[in-house]
Symmetry: C2
Subunit: 356 residues, 2 copies
């Protein structure tokens, strides 16, 4: 088998611990399925600020560019929160997205049966929720011109939200493609009654829609979507939206599943290149204690196998093993009903590997 190059960015907080388990899982799939990986590690985020004076060192970026896929743990923490913009972990995150051309963020929000109770939503509402938010990731107000100026009423700040038709087309097309592999329902979210970028967005969606006649399309205003996610989460299949709305709605969707410690995400560029990471943060409060839940990162590997490498059999095996271990009642502290019975990060990883 061809050797696949994996750029590993463990990052901050619990990042190194959860990434470690994910790599163990990948090595197990080398054994079981004859896959071959070459891992290279790089500094990124807070630790890179501390050691190299920048959140995204050039050699880390080069390493990612050389790789076939990137596995990311988590970045950030209170330590760097008051730094100036150039010395903040988020700046590295925005930089890596732009530099690697990761224009599409795929955020599945699924409910794990065993975690149904962990949600603040009623089980009967949540039942069957299995949706994906496809978020545009390299455009919009995140990357438009930003500046301060003196206006008539004192200092002013300006952010610019820009989308061109090509950017909208590629993310929308990808969302239609994702919908085609699922229940063929797509909700496009915008604020077309107020924003010009949203009107361009909606026109573009409507222009592309006839290419996917099987997909049932609805346009939902962002404020209404924030409500409908709460009202009828299980009625959504694929949601596609721009960068800022996607930031808010994907987090809302993740939280309502009650399974935020279990959710994985992919940030995809052109071709099959992708960066994979858990949805949860760096959890500095529990870092280094060996108690973090590695499942979201392990499931991010399964997502990588599917979306970048087409290793579906190995992905299935990982997902089944996770399910089996959970069904057997094993829990890390964050998802334990009885915290006294909680197992650690390494134990969870080992159990999943054993179940594979």
């Amino acid at each position: 088998t061809e050797v696949k190059k994996i750029a590993v960015i463990a990052g901050d907080g619990i990042g190194p611990e959860v990434v470690n388990e994910a790599i163990k899982v990948m090595k197990k799939t080398e054994e079981l399925f004859g896959l071959r990986f070459e891992f290279e590690e790089g500094l990124f985020g807070g630790i890179a600020i501390d050691e190299k004076g920048t959140p995204l060192p050039a050699d880390t970026l080069d390493m990612c560019k050389r790789a076939d896929a990137v596995l990311l743990g988590a970045v950030g923490g209170p330590k760097w929160d008051n730094n100036s913009k150039e010395l903040r972990p988020e700046t590295g995150l925005l930089g890596i997205r732009k530099e690697l051309g990761l224009f599409s963020n795929i955020r599945p929000a699924v409910v794990f049966d065993c975690l149904m109770e962990a949600s603040t939503l009623k089980p009967e509402v949540l039942e069957g929720t299995d949706l994906i938010v496809v978020r545009e990731l390299t455009g919009g107000i995140y990357f438009g011109e930003k500046f301060r100026r003196q206006g008539e009423a004192g200092e002013e700040a300006v952010d610019t939200c820009v989308y061109n038709v090509t950017e909208v087309e590629r993310i929308v097309r990808q969302a239609f493609e994702v919908a085609m592999t699922r229940s063929k329902r797509l909700a496009s979210v915008d604020k077309a009654n107020v924003l010009e970028t949203s009107r361009l967005w909606r026109e573009t969606v409507n222009r592309i829609a006839p290419e996917y006649p099987e997909v049932e399309l609805e346009h939902v205003l962002v404020d209404n979507c924030a409500m409908q996610l709460l009202r009828r989460p299980s009625s959504f299949d694929v949601i596609v939206t721009e960068n800022m709305f996607g930031d808010i709605l994907s987090d809302e969707a993740a939280m309502l599943t009650g399974s935020i410690g279990m959710l994985s995400s992919a940030s995809l560029g052109e071709g099959s290149y992708g960066l994979y990471e858990p949805v949860h943060g760096s959890a500095p409060d529990i870092a280094g204690k060996g108690i973090a839940n590695p499942i979201a990162t392990i499931l991010s590997v399964a997502l990588m196998y599917r979306l970048t490498f087409g290793y579906h059999e190995a992905a299935d095996r990982i997902e089944q093993a996770v399910k089996q271990v959970l069904d057997a009642g094993h829990r890390t502290g964050d998802i334990a009903v009885d915290p006294s019975k909680a197992i650690g990060t390494t134990e969870m990883g080992d159990l999943i590997i054993a179940a594979m």
Copy 2:
């Protein structure tokens, strides 16, 4: 007593029906408390487009400017949804906010005990939720420059989000004032890790905070706030945020209470001037059937009495009457457990008036 001028904009859909009940309630308070109102009606929204060719006719605007407060029913409906921008009801809404200088939108999200079950959130999570979103209403990306242009990659759309320090100061100060009348906890929501306007926002909040040493202040990122509203709604007291974030978060907060048919809102300008309206929409599907729930509009009158006129006793009486009628088990169709026992719009209004 001084006669107060009320500009009445019934609007579209169920607007006229619910406004009618609210006016009956106001007339009852004239009797009971010796208040005096002069009502003047104006066309606005879809009906104004149909009859006058514009959503915000000049004489409606003049009428509002002459008044002490505005009572609004609801605007919009599918009939006008595909109109060009100038002929859409929303354009009237944005216009009236700007023209009347209504920079502050006050959106209480409270749980009515009898509607606890109507929420999709678990009762134990929702219990005690009583928060107010203070949304900036005349700035930000809603009112910045918007245009199309040809870029290198084809057509581009641009929206501009602008805030000056004066705009931020006045809304933030107002939020601190609101917090002072309540539990003295303020959450300021921004996206300071990405947006320049958010950094100006946060600096301004931090500069004003020392004027209110009793208020406990937290800064929450907008994506995190969308999650925390779901996780711990009852822990919020006052939330202050910019226009676009406020649009999304206030709707999310309203929906999670399960009481959206009951929620009122105020849009305030300088001084005590304000526009009052129910949070719910024009519900074209049930318009004209006499089954709409008038409670949100009636409670908007109570809000008007408090915030514009300082008629606290009359406001108390209205709110108590609503509670009493609900406690007695009377329900309109939207909030009825047993729809066969639902009462109509007029009956609900009459019962509330009788209870006053």
